[in-house]
Symmetry: C2
Subunit: 329 residues, 2 copies
């Protein structure tokens, strides 16, 4: 396999390199691309030194897969060039997620969609990926009709700069200094910010609407209703989501527990925390219990590493599905 | 007025002294009580030095009000002695909250209940107080039938020791040291812990069940259904709660907005954060919007200072209601 990474210097791009190594994909050549200012930087991959190429030269000939870790606007500009060069473009940005011809895939949930691509496959939003891995275990018992979610999102969701801002604020505060926010709208150290993304007319943020819009596509359920509240918390790199979901039919808790235990990509544990689940690829589901408000309701807490399962790992699992060639549905 | 404070050395007891000063209650005498090891310590109140008395001597003669900032088991031991001495006991612990003869009061919501006491009045749980101030503004438009809540609770909920633990962990981590949790079950710095209190058989924690049990009593609605998920976050002293509530009838968002603006104790603002609302007494309500899942649903984010409105200020407002003698209902 010949693989390229666009945006190789960012948090997700760097993680993609590490995950490719760890999962021992059979890679003949890895090429790294970034904007002009990073050209010439080098990174080690599988013991070899690789020099960063200029992304704007748009030279992707010979690549089988290109992993995109770019902002949405940049991704939109370059996707067709990648496809025209003959590579499958797996995009971590929001640019193509809702396009009809672009599969939106969480490999544990809807791997079969990978094979319906026309050159581009999209990685869902990070909170959505983590939530949908958990929802999948319940959806198999009875169709999920409604989801009420509140997120506890790590600063890594805003990239390397987000992580740097939290650390810098904590350091500055320890020295009694004033802290001005740059990446986030307000101080994130010792705080929770109930806004991620821009506002839609309905009062929800773009980040909040992703859970419903992308959730519908991933679960193949156009009628799924999702109410999400997205909150940034002073955690480094794992997202947590408090979820109440309502299924079409009443399912016994024991059956759901069994299904979650048997579902790929899930670890069932009572009180997983974002700190504990960081730096690995599974989604931890805890606090599983019957809802007290709705007869068919189930409540739970799910947690996953935002940079890995929420982004890099999910994209690489998509390559693995394509390579395995096994259409499970 | 002659007032006593039990547990005057803790976070809530100390805050009670400051709030009594700030709100300029007409206090003839303040007496401070704590356990034996604090006897002889002194605190300044309204310019006078007051020496801490031994609580276990149980000498409360002549006091009009005694404010309790004790653990529930200690509070249970001492409450009757306070009442027998002729004082009204306003208890911040969970000891008497669900007792039939004990009013459970959020002064902005059910002040009239203050006058039904038999010597003891209880302060509700801190997250419940903050949530109920917000719910009150909606409940006046149409009865709230269901609440789904996820909390973002500050470390101050575990007292001075909780705040010290977060600060100590942040400092230790900055020096590359290992951090062992003592107050909380896991490291709280850079983490979220989805467990506060002990577990009931139904899988909910004691802290989570308070929102339903106490909420029913405060809102005078035995049929209120509440599903709560309580989560500890690395924030110093203000609690935030993400709430979706469902009313009996459909109410227009503009009407709810107007009601919240006119409701005592509330500030309506789009994105209030726990850091910004600390060190004051109002409950900030933000992110107000129609729910996307339930026709009569409303979603919001509310935030309040846990030590003040969630504990000390609420107790002192109860004294103010009793002193004003105005029964509003």
């Amino acid at each position: 396999m010949k693989i390229g990474i666009l945006g190789c210097t960012g948090a997700v791009g760097q993680q993609m390199m590490r995950v490719l190594e760890e999962r021992k994909l059979d890679i003949e050549e890895l090429r790294l691309f970034a904007s002009e200012r990073s050209v010439g930087k080098t990174f080690e991959f599988n013991g070899k030194i690789i020099e960063v190429e200029n992304m704007t030269n748009k030279n992707f000939d010979g690549l089988d897969y290109v992993l995109g870790a770019l902002e949405a606007d940049l991704s939109k500009e370059i996707a067709q060039v990648v496809v025209d060069a003959g590579a499958v473009y797996i995009d971590n940005s929001s640019a193509f997620r809702m396009n009809e011809n672009v599969p939106l895939v969480v490999p544990e949930v809807n791997p079969e969609d990978c094979f319906k691509h026309s050159g581009i496959i999209a990685n869902p939003n990070c909170s959505t990926i983590i939530s949908m891995v958990a929802m999948n275990g319940i959806n198999k018992c009875s169709k999920i009709e409604k989801i009420i979610a509140s997120t506890y999102q790590a600063v890594s969701g805003a990239g390397v700069k987000g992580m740097q801002e939290l650390n810098a604020q904590i350091r500055a505060l320890a020295q009694g200094q004033v802290v001005l926010p740059e990446v986030f709208t307000k101080q994130i150290a010792y705080n929770c910010i109930p806004q991620i993304g821009s506002y839609d007319k309905n009062g929800y943020t773009s980040e909040e609407m992703k859970m419903q819009n992308e959730g519908r596509k991933i679960l193949h359920n156009d009628k799924l209703l999702v109410n999400c509240t997205c909150v940034r918390v002073p955690v480094i790199r794992s997202h947590s989501i408090s979820i109440t979901c309502i299924t079409e039919e009443k399912v016994e808790l024991e059956q759901i527990k069994k299904s979650l235990q048997e579902t790929k990509g899930i670890v069932l544990e009572n009180e997983p925390t974002p700190l504990e689940v960081s730096n690995q690829d599974l989604v931890y589901v805890g606090r599983l219990r019957n809802d007290l408000v709705f007869e068919n309701g189930i409540s739970l807490w799910c947690v996953g590493d935002q940079i890995r399962k929420g982004a890099a790992t999910n994209a690489i699992q998509i390559i693995e599905v394509l390579e395995s060639g096994i259409q499970t549905d």
